[in-house]
């Protein structure tokens, strides 16, 4: 029977803490770029201008149907050959997860926008609003409220997916765990602790998202999945 020894892990807790911070950093930055990009993709896909909508649809479907790990490898190993950039694990991570999550956010936005009654567009149009005014003032404020649960679910998925960056040697929590496991020869303790950290963090976000969903449901607004 194995003798548990968490001391070795706790001695190097700062390593894991750094990893955790980096995990959150990648998630936050991917959200920061991914959400607006997702909105742009959604609007393009909804556009009546066929070429634009076809291109947007292709980008969305492509990034939804290819594995994120393949995308990450592509941006990390292949992109620098195509264009002259100094690729770092950090940049590859941000680029990959911004675009990857934007494809999913685009579908959330599109679903939200399409769920708004056509009459709302007409009501806005009738008082002289332009397309962008209608979108900004009338449609999005209503759509966003309905999108919140799907949006939070997607963000949690993103947080989980960021573990992949460890494979291109970005020092996220997963990478630090691998590092520490090798250093201490205590993989059981290290990986169990790290799994626990992920669990606590993601479980807390999930519970928060469920709570928000309940509040939205109470306020009488339908939500979208």
């Amino acid at each position: 029977m194995h003798e548990w020894n968490f001391l070795a892990v706790l001695n190097d807790a700062d390593l894991l803490l750094l990893g955790l911070v980096n995990t959150l950093k990648v998630t936050a930055l991917a959200l920061l770029f991914g959400v607006p990009l997702g909105l742009a993709l959604a609007l393009s896909r909804l556009s009546t201008f066929r070429p634009l909508s076809a291109v947007a649809a292709f980008i969305i479907e492509f990034f939804r149907t290819t594995p994120p790990l393949v995308q990450l490898f592509w941006f990390f190993f292949a992109l620098p050959i195509l264009i002259d950039v100094r690729m770092t694990p950090f940049i590859a991570a941000i680029v990959t997860f911004s675009i990857q999550s934007s494809a999913f956010f685009a579908e959330v936005f599109r679903g939200g926008i399409l769920s708004i009654d056509k009459g709302q567009w007409e009501g806005a149009k009738a008082i002289g609003m332009s397309f962008s005014q209608s979108l900004r003032r009338i449609i999005l404020p209503q759509a966003v409220k309905r999108m919140i649960p799907a949006f939070m679910e997607r963000s949690i998925e993103l947080l989980k997916t960021t573990t992949l960056v460890s494979t291109v040697a970005y020092t996220d929590l997963m990478f630090q765990a691998n590092d520490l496991a090798q250093k201490t020869f205590r993989p059981l303790e290290v990986y169990t602790i790290v799994a626990l950290i992920y669990f606590v963090m993601i479980f807390a976000f999930s519970q928060a998202s469920i709570a928000v969903e309940h509040r939205l449901a109470k306020s009488g607004e339908g939500t979208l999945r």
Binding site: G119, Q120, G123, A124, A126, G128, M129
Partner: protein
């Protein structure tokens, strides 16, 4: 309104088709200041489409629309082009009220009535609020200013929608079957508001099935059939002595309505 009798809206040879379906087949119509014109016709006659072409909620397939004698859109190479910016500006001068209200549910009644003024006309907040309260008072809903639309009855919602359109100071108001979605007991309050507007001299084009309103309030009634104007004239002529069989059949379909002698 001191634009009485001047031409406000003119429609010339208006056509509209959806794919193979010709909904409007050459409509000519002029509406003068202070006039209330009621468009009648069975469903599919094109009356709502005509109304929606006047403020370009639908794009006409052919023909021109004039506001104050000025043609909307620019003709180039035999085709008429409409810029989105011009159409937005045009719509601020033409108010529209819908069958399903289309109030903005995420805004209070007051915000609904202020929205167009602030976002489109760029009026200041306090001026817009003042105008909004005045218009809400006009439709008898001043005390509902802070409520959200979800808490109003259908009739109240529709009166807010009227106030929202009025707040833009439009030259003409379009009413698209505004009582059709209402419970019967709520129809009266909306018609009363519309009648009051007509009496105040507002220029109005009204699509409705309420023959009583047409008879008592309209200056002129137009009967549309298969995308064309079949009969028009003063309500007591058209409604009491219809010339065409189609119009007679249409009126008989509304047999619940008894015209006073």
């Amino acid at each position: 309104m001191n634009q009485a009798n001047t031409e406000i809206v003119k429609v010339e040879n208006l056509h509209k088709s959806f794919g193979d379906l010709d909904v409007l087949r050459g409509i000519d119509m002029t509406v003068r200041g202070g006039e209330t014109v009621v468009l009648l016709g069975s469903s599919g006659s094109g009356k709502s489409t005509l109304l929606r072409c006047i403020n370009f909620m639908e794009m006409p397939s052919e023909g021109r629309v004039y506001l104050h004698g000025e043609a909307v859109g620019k003709e180039r190479n035999g085709k008429i082009r409409y810029s989105e910016r011009d159409l937005c500006a045009l719509r601020t001068r033409i108010g529209m009220v819908f069958q399903h209200f289309n109030l903005f549910p995420h805004m209070t009644v007051l915000q609904n009535v202020m929205e167009g003024q602030v976002t489109v006309l760029k009026r200041g907040k306090s001026e817009a609020a003042e105008t909004a309260r005045r218009q809400l008072d006009r439709v008898g809903l001043a005390e509902k200013a802070e409520e959200y639309p979800a808490r109003l009855s259908g009739g109240q919602k529709q009166r807010v929608a009227i106030a929202r359109a009025l707040a833009m100071d439009p030259d003409v108001m379009l009413f698209d079957e505004v009582t059709s979605a209402l419970d019967p007991e709520l129809v009266g309050e909306v018609l009363k508001t519309m009648r009051q507007l007509a009496e105040e001299g507002m220029t109005m084009i009204v699509v409705t099935h309420e023959l009583g309103f047409a008879y008592h309030v309209a200056n002129r009634v137009l009967f549309l059939n298969e995308g064309a104007i079949l009969e028009q004239g003063a309500p007591h002529d058209v409604l009491k002595n219809p010339e065409s069989t189609r119009m007679r059949e249409f009126l008989e379909g509304h047999s619940l309505f008894k015209l006073p002698d």
